[in-house]
Point group: C2
Chain length 209, copies 2
DNA sequence: CAGTTATTTCAGAAATGTCTGAAATACAAG
DNA sequence: CTTGTATTTCAGACATTTCTGAAATAACTG
């Protein structure tokens, strides 16, 4: 592997982390290389820099493509394929979130829903189904939320992230206002737990004020 | 494997998903079995029900323990170890989030910070470092947010999730109020992008109103 | 169409990960 | 200390995944 030390360290690390992220070493290395690169690279260049076989690079690029993490481009007067990494970090985050959900969550949700439709045949299965139902509800709440957040434009998403847990203050403020100003009663669409009613100010929610 | 069909389907699915989740088949199966079970199980029972070797179960339980997903308990007059799954779905979500972060994100963040400290030795490295900086900032924003959200009590977390992207309306409402009522000027702690100022009402942000 | 270059496919080699059975360890009870 | 039971360790068998080189395919060029 013939790379400037800084880039090499980055590439090697991504290769090693690859296995924890469900991609293999070469795929991780290719992505890191493209991400750090200051120009599009073709397969042959990647092969040389990483010191792996040409066919391995071909397969790796195809996998990155199914993850929608690389873009294929062409340079004038050159019929080789050139690749760039999806470069905007927020685009990467969104893509990773979508793809991981598709691969890691959706199949499970589908199986769970299926099992919840079945008629339990024993006490044991009744209990199991209850547990499955609790799990399903939680996953559904999370994925619905993730869906909605995915649709926010970048600025909004960043704004929310920066606010952090500060959002709960806003929620409290809103509930108080609704009461003080005699606003329209809340639609119980998001049925609040009793502890979140007007003046109940929870200890933890106000700890930073 | 001798299990009621519904439970068996659940267990088999978790086993298969295991590889995508960075755990192996047996570990996934053991967790699923414990999660669906209506009582604590000992290693021998798990062995029998899953039809895998006793030693495999021992290793699997140890791994689940390092993930903090199972609890060890003892029954009176029985010196065998009994296990239960972490059963509250929100506790599971929190634990998974923490553990995955520890394994999948923190090491990368540490390497990135390290590489950002280094003196770049070429134009190429200067560019690479800029890319690394962008990535680092994004990951840091995400993990800081995740940290804060982790500290919220369950009800608050659920409340937020149910609100979904509705939070942005609250943000807008707050900004408007600050102006209308002449409230104290915002601390620029979360420096908003210009587009989020008082009446700029972005098209996408108000699309549902 | 033949020649050239780029990419993909794929069988098997190499590497890695998982699982088992046997042996080792741990520990309570007699 | 010995016996009996529970659990862990670990070397090697087995299984899966990754990677390579060679061959096939594709696509352009004259």
């Amino acid at each position: 592997m013939e790379l400037p030390p800084l880039i090499q360290a980055f590439v090697l690390h991504f290769g090693e982390m690859g296995s924890r992220w469900g991609i293999n070493r070469t795929v991780g290395q290719i992505y890191a290389l493209l991400y750090a690169a200051d120009r599009p690279l073709n397969a042959e260049e990647i092969t040389q820099r990483l010191g792996v076989s040409r066919s391995n690079v071909s397969m790796g690029l195809r996998e990155l493509d199914t993850w929608r993490l690389v873009k294929l481009r062409h340079l004038p007067d050159d019929r080789r394929d050139y690749f760039t990494a999806l470069e905007d970090p927020w685009a990467i985050v969104r893509t990773l979130a979508e793809e991981r959900r598709k691969r890691e969550v959706d199949p499970t949700l589908s199986v769970l829903r299926d099992l919840l439709m079945q008629q339990p045949a024993s006490e044991e299965e009744i209990h199991a189904q209850e547990r499955l139902r609790a799990l399903t509800n939680t996953i559904e709440l999370l994925t619905t939320w993730a869906d909605e957040v995915q649709r926010l434009p970048d600025e909004r998403l960043i704004q929310l992230l920066k606010l952090g847990s500060g959002v709960v203050k806003l929620l409290d403020a809103k509930d108080r206002l609704t009461v003080v100003l005699g606003g329209k009663p809340r639609q119980p669409r998001t049925a609040l737990p009793r502890t979140a009613l007007p003046r109940a100010s929870l200890p933890h929610a106000t700890s930073k004020e």
